[in-house]
C-alpha cells in the first residue's frame, strides 16, 4: 500500500460505521419516504404525486448534502477531538496527504451514497407507480440539475473548509456561511439602488469558485494551521486570511462593476450615444438636449477596456447588448456643452407620446431599461425638459394614465400628436378626441373624433386613422379615417391605407408595380364625399409625389428614362402646376425610392425638416438634410453632407439641426452653411473639434 492509499484506508476504517449508516439511510429512507407518502395520501384522500426520475435526482442531491454536512464536517475536527492530530503531525509526509486522503474519501463516499440513494429512489418510484426515468431533457432541467449540484458541492466544500477551524462538526455549516458572508460583505454592500443585482450568471462562477477554492482554503487552514502545534484558532487565522485574499478580487470586481454602472465618461473610448429612436429629446426652449448614453464595453478590445468586461448586467443597457454598460440619461446644455446626469444610472430618456419626427418637447420621461426583461419598468420620472427639474413620478411609462389629466399632457399631445391644418393651426389628439386650438387659446373638440381610447393614432397628411378596438385585422374590409380639415369621419375600403388626406381631394396611391420608381406608386385624386377617384391633372399625372406638405402641396418630380427624378418640383396635385426647386450643383438626380424624401424633424416654429436622397454627378447616393421654407419655396440644405444620414435629435432654433455623429458626438449643422460644430462632448483638441 502506498502512503496515500493507507491514509485513505485509515479514514475509511475510522469512519466505516458512519459511512455504513449513511449508506443504509440512503438505501432505506427514500423507499420509506415514498411509500409512506403514498400511504399517507391514500389514507387522507390527498392527491398522490406521479413520481418520476426527477424525484430520484432530488433524493440523490439530498444524499450528497447529507454526506457533506455529516461526514465531511466531521473528518477534520475528529482529529483534534481524539488527539490523533499529533500522530498525523509526526508522519514524514506532513499533513497535506492526510488532508487529501480525507477529501478523497469524502468525494468517494458522497458519490457512492448519492448513487445508492438514487437507485433506491428509482426503485421506490417504480414501486409507487411512477416511471423509472423521466423523458430525457437536456435543456432547462439538465441545467437546473447541474446548478443544483454545483450549489450542493459549494455548500459541502465550504462546510469541509470551515470544519478545519472548529472542533464541532455541527458548527461547520453555520461557520462556513458566516465566513463567506463576512468575506463577501463588501460585495453585497457595494451596490447602487438594488438594480445591480448578482444574477444567476454571476452566481455560477461564484459557486464554482467556492466549490474549487474552499477545499484549497481548507487545506491551507489544516496543513499550515496545524503543522507546528497550531490549534483551531491558528487554522481559523490562516483560513480567514486566505478567504480575505480570495474575496479581495471578487469584491474588487464588484466595486469595478458598480463604478462602471455609476459613472459616465464622455471622453472614454467606450462612450456611446445610444442610437435609439426614443432615446433623445430636445427641450422646447431649445437650450437643452437630452441623450441616452452608455458605455459599449463589449466593443473594445481587452487592453482598451476600462475594466473587466461585465458579462451580465442585471439591467443591461439598451437594445439587447448585454455586454454594454447601463443607460445614463444626460442633460446637455447646448450653450456651452456642459452636461449632467439626470435620473439614476440605468435610466434612459423617453419622450412620451411620440409622433415620429424629432420635435422640441417640454417634458421628458426617465425610466430604467432592462433588455433582459419584457416587463415594463416599474418607475417613470417625468422631467421638465426646459430646466431638468422633476415634475412627477409615475408608476410606469406604459401607465401614464394619471398624467392624462394634468396640464402637461395637453402640451405633450399638442406637440407630439400634432397634425398641421392647412391654415397653420395645429390639431392634436387629446384625452381620446381630436382638438384644435382657437385664436383665444381655448380648445375646440372636433366633432365625431373620439375613438374612445388611448390607442396610438397614425396621421397621414391631415387625416387620421381611427383604429378599431383591438387593432386592425388583416381581413378587415374597411377602415375609418378622420379628415381633420373637413372634420368628418369616413369609412373606406382597405385600400385606404394608401390614402393621404388633404384639405382638397385626397391622394390615393395606385399600383406601385406600374411605377418607374421603386416603391413610388402612381396616384389619383379622390373625393371622399362623393367616393369618386379621378386621374390627376394631365400636367402632373406622371409626376411622382415624394412628400406632402401640411398645406397639401407635394414635393416630387418626373421620373427620367433611368427611373430617377432628375428635377425636384413643388407640385399642386389638384391644379396640376409645378415650380422647380433648386438643388445643389453636384446633384445628378433624386433617389429612386419613395423614401427618397422624408420628414425627420420640425423646428420649434413647426417648419419641416426633410432628408433627401440624391445621386451625385460622380456616382453614389448621398442623403442631405434640408429645411423646407414654405414661404420662399426653397430647400435650405445643410452644407455637410457627411452627417446628413445621422440620427436627428432636433432643431434648437430655425437655423440649425442637431445630429448624433458616430454614436459619440452631438453635432450642430447649420442650414445654408457648411459649418459644423461639436456641441458635446466638448472637444479636447482642435483636431477633435473639426473632425
Amino acid at each position: 500500500m502506498t502512503p496515500f492509499a493507507v491514509l485513505v484506508w485509515k479514514e475509511w476504517r475510522g469512519e466505516r460505521r458512519s459511512i455504513a449508516t449513511l449508506a443504509g439511510a440512503a438505501a432505506l429512507l427514500p423507499v420509506m419516504g415514498l411509500l409512506g407518502a403514498r400511504e399517507f395520501a391514500g389514507r387522507f384522500g390527498l392527491q398522490h404525486y406521479a413520481y418520476d426520475g426527477g424525484t430520484a435526482t432530488i433524493v440523490a442531491q439530498a444524499a450528497l448534502l447529507a454526506v457533506a454536512l455529516s461526514l465531511g464536517a466531521e473528518l477534520l475536527p475528529g482529529e483534534s477531538r481524539r488527539g490523533s492530530i499529533a500522530l498525523l503531525r509526526r508522519l514524514p509526509c506532513g499533513l497535506l496527504r492526510p488532508y487529501l486522503a480525507k477529501f478523497a474519501l469524502l468525494i468517494a463516499v458522497a458519490l457512492a451514497t448519492a448513487l445508492v440513494a438514487w437507485a433506491s429512489a428509482c426503485a421506490a418510484v417504480r414501486a409507487t407507480g411512477g416511471v423509472w426515468f423521466p423523458p430525457l431533457d437536456f435543456g432547462v432541467s439538465l441545467l437546473r440539475g447541474v446548478s443544483d449540484l454545483l450549489l450542493i458541492a459549494a455548500v459541502g466544500a465550504l462546510a469541509f473548509m470551515a470544519s478545519a477551524w472548529i472542533g464541532r462538526a455541527t458548527l461547520a455549516l453555520p461557520v462556513a456561511l458566516l465566513a463567506v458572508a463576512l468575506a463577501l460583505t463588501p460585495f453585497w454592500l457595494i451596490h447602487d439602488d438594488g438594480r445591480l443585482l448578482a444574477s444567476a450568471p454571476t452566481l455560477v462562477p461564484l459557486l464554482w469558485g467556492a466549490a474549487l477554492l474552499a477545499p484549497c482554503v481548507g487545506a491551507l487552514s489544516f496543513v499550515v494551521g496545524r503543522r507546528r502545534g497550531g490549534g483551531e484558532l491558528r487554522s481559523l487565522a490562516f483560513g480567514a486570511g486566505a478567504l480575505a485574499l480570495i474575496a479581495l478580487p471578487v469584491n474588487g470586481w464588484r466595486a469595478t462593476r458598480v463604478a462602471e454602472w455609476c459613472s459616465v465618461d464622455p471622453q472614454a473610448e467606450s462612450f456611446r450615444i445610444t442610437d435609439a429612436i426614443f432615446g433623445h429629446a430636445l427641450a422646447a426652449n431649445g437650450r437643452y438636449a437630452y441623450l441616452t448614453v452608455h458605455h459599449a464595453f463589449g466593443d473594445l478590445v481587452w487592453s482598451e477596456r476600462r475594466a473587466t468586461r461585465p458579462e451580465d448586467w442585471s439591467y443591461a443597457s439598451n437594445w439587447g447588448f448585454p455586454s454594454d454598460g447601463p443607460n445614463h440619461a444626460l442633460q446637455i446644455d447646448l450653450a456651452d456643452g456642459s452636461w449632467r446626469e439626470v435620473g439614476q444610472p440605468g435610466d434612459g430618456v423617453f419622450v412620451p407620446q411620440l409622433g415620429g419626427v424629432a420635435q422640441p418637447t417640454p417634458f421628458i420621461a426617465l425610466e430604467p431599461f432592462d433588455s433582459s426583461s419584457d416587463a415594463a419598468a416599474e418607475r417613470c420620472v417625468l422631467l421638465d425638459a426646459n430646466d431638468g427639474t422633476e415634475r412627477s413620478r409615475e408608476p410606469s411609462r406604459s401607465r401614464l394614465r394619471p398624467f392624462t389629466d394634468r396640464p402637461e399632457r395637453r402640451e405633450l399631445d399638442r406637440i407630439f400628436q400634432t397634425a398641421f391644418l392647412p391654415d397653420g393651426r395645429r390639431a392634436w389628439f387629446h384625452r381620446g378626441e381630436w382638438v384644435t386650438e382657437t385664436a383665444d387659446g381655448t380648445l375646440r373638440t372636433l366633432p365625431d373624433s373620439s375613438i374612445g381610447g388611448d390607442r396610438i393614432v397614425l396621421a397621414s397628411g391631415v387625416g387620421v386613422w381611427m383604429p378599431r378596438a383591438g387593432g386592425a385585422a388583416s381581413d378587415d374590409e374597411t377602415v375609418e379615417i378622420y379628415d381633420l380639415a373637413r372634420e368628418r369621419r369616413y369609412e373606406r375600403s382597405t385600400q385606404a391605407p394608401k390614402v393621404i388626406v388633404r384639405a382638397g381631394p385626397w391622394i390615393v396611391a395606385g399600383d406601385s408595380s406600374q411605377s418607374p420608381l421603386q416603391m413610388a406608386p402612381p396616384w389619383k385624386l379622390y373625393d371622399p364625399d362623393r367616393d369618386v377617384a379621378t386621374p390627376p391633372p394631365e400636367a402632373v399625372a406622371n409626376d411622382t409625389l415624394l412628400w406632402i406638405d401640411d398645406d397639401g402641396a407635394a414635393l416630387g418630380g418626373v421620373a427620367d428614362g433611368n427611373g430617377r427624378i432628375a428635377q425636384l418640383f413643388r407640385i399642386d396635385p389638384e391644379r396640376g402646376t409645378r415650380e422647380a426647386i433648386a438643388l445643389p450643383a453636384w446633384v445628378d438626380a433624386m433617389g429612386n425610392c419613395f423614401y427618397a424624401m422624408q420628414a425627420v424633424a420640425r423646428t420649434r416654429a413647426g417648419t419641416p425638416i426633410v432628408r433627401l436622397l440624391f445621386w451625385t454627378r460622380h456616382g453614389g447616393a448621398i442623403p442631405l438634410c434640408a429645411r423646407w421654407d414654405r414661404e420662399r419655396r426653397e430647400l435650405q440644405f445643410v452644407g455637410d453632407a457627411s452627417l446628413s444620414s445621422r440620427p436627428v435629435v432636433g432643431c434648437p432654433d430655425e437655423e440649425s439641426l442637431l445630429v448624433i455623429d458616430d454614436e459619440r458626438r452631438l453635432v450642430r449643422l447649420r442650414f445654408g452653411s457648411d459649418a459644423r460644430e461639436v456641441v458635446f462632448p466638448i472637444p479636447t483638441s482642435e483636431g477633435e473639434a473639426s473632425r
Binding site: P3, V6, K10, R13, G83, A86, R90, R228, G229
Partner: protein, 273 residues
C-alpha cells in the same frame, strides 16, 4: 552522515509560549550510541525540546540539527530517522497494534516488519486489541514498537513511563530496557529520554542532562551529575555508563543530589541577574 557527529545538536535554542519563556538559549549535543536522560521539573521544557526535534514546533531562536538534518526544512527526513514515543499513546482508539503498524509502515521506507513482529512478541503486546481497550502499559509498549520498527538512529521518549502504576512501570521498564539499546543493524542507537523519574534515569541512562530555566544546567555521565558514589554504592557499576540502579538507597541519594543541582542552578541564575 558523519558517524562521530552528534545525532542531536542544539545551539542557543529559545522558545516561548506567550510570555512564558520555556527554552532560553539551550545548548545540547548528544553523541551517537548513548542513552541520555533529560531531567527537569514539570514544565521545564523537556517535551518542547523533543517536539522541536521532531519539527512539530518551531523555535524562535537558535539552531537545531537532528540526525544531520534541520527538523523544519527537512522534516520528512528527520521523522524517517527519528523514533518517538509520546507520554500518552496517541494512536487512533479504534486501531489495534497491527492496524497501527499497517498505517505507519508505508510512511517509513526503513520499516522492519519482522522486527515489529519480533518486538510485539517479546514485549507481549496484544495485537488484536484496539488501543482504547489496551492498558496504559500495553499501549506504551505498542507505541515503543512502532517507534523502533523503522530502526531509527535517534529515539525520543517523552516521559513514556509517567503515569504508569508501579507494577506496570516495572514490567514495561524491564521489557524495554534491552530493546532501547539493541540496534538490529549493529549500529549504535541514540536515545533521549525526557523524564523526571530518577529511577528511570538510573536504570537506562548513560548520561543525564538537567534542564532548568530553559537551559541545560548540567550535562554529563549519570555518575558525574547525580553523584557517582551514591550510584556506585547502589549498583557497583562505577564507570558512570549503563548505570542500573535498582535499590532505594541509591535513588534516594541521587534525588538529594538532583535537588542540590537544581538549587545551585537557581542561585547561580539569581546571582547573574
Amino acid at each position: 552522515m558523519n558517524p562521530t557527529a552528534p545525532v542531536f545538536a542544539a545551539r542557543g535554542l529559545s522558545m516561548r509560549f506567550g510570555k512564558r519563556r520555556v527554552l532560553d538559549g539551550l545548548d545540547l549535543e548528544l553523541a551517537p550510541g548513548q542513552v541520555t536522560a533529560l531531567l527537569g521539573e514539570n514544565g521545564a521544557g523537556k517535551s518542547t525540546l523533543i517536539k522541536l526535534a521532531l519539527g512539530v514546533l518551531k523555535a524562535q531562536r537558535g539552531t537545531l540539527t537532528v540526525a544531520g538534518c534541520c527538523p523544519l526544512k527537512q522534516s520528512g527526513l528527520v521523522r524517517q530517522r527519528v523514533g518517538f514515543v509520546p507520554d500518552v499513546p496517541d494512536a487512533y482508539p479504534w486501531m489495534t497494534a497491527r492496524e497501527l503498524f499497517r498505517f505507519l509502515a508505508p510512511h517509513w521506507p526503513s520499516w522492519d516488519a519482522a522486527l515489529a513482529e519480533s518486538l510485539l512478541e517479546s514485549l507481549c503486546v496484544p495485537t488484536a486489541t484496539p488501543f482504547k481497550s489496551m492498558s496504559r502499559g500495553e499501549g506504551m509498549k505498542a507505541m515503543l514498537v512502532a517507534a523502533l520498527a523503522p530502526r531509527p538512529s535517534l529515539l525520543l521518549l517523552d516521559e513514556p513511563f509517567a503515569g504508569l502504576d508501579p507494577l506496570v512501570r516495572e514490567e514495561v521498564l524491564r521489557s524495554v530496557i534491552g530493546e532501547l539499546r539493541s540496534d538490529p543493524n549493529g549500529g549504535e542507537r541514540t536515545v533521549l529520554v525526557a523524564t523526571h523519574d530518577l529511577d528511570v534515569v538510573a536504570r537506562i541512562a548513560d548520561r543525564v542532562a538537567i534542564l532548568a530555566h530553559g537551559k541545560i544546567a548540567q550535562h554529563g555521565a549519570v555518575g558525574e551529575v547525580l553523584g557517582a558514589k551514591s550510584l556506585d554504592d547502589g549498583n557497583g557499576a562505577g564507570d558512570g555508563s549503563n548505570a542500573l540502579l535498582d535499590d532505594g538507597a541509591g535513588v534516594g541519594a541521587a534525588t538529594f543530589k538532583l535537588r542540590d543541582v537544581l538549587a545551585a542552578t537557581r542561585s547561580t541564575e539569581t546571582a547573574v541577574r
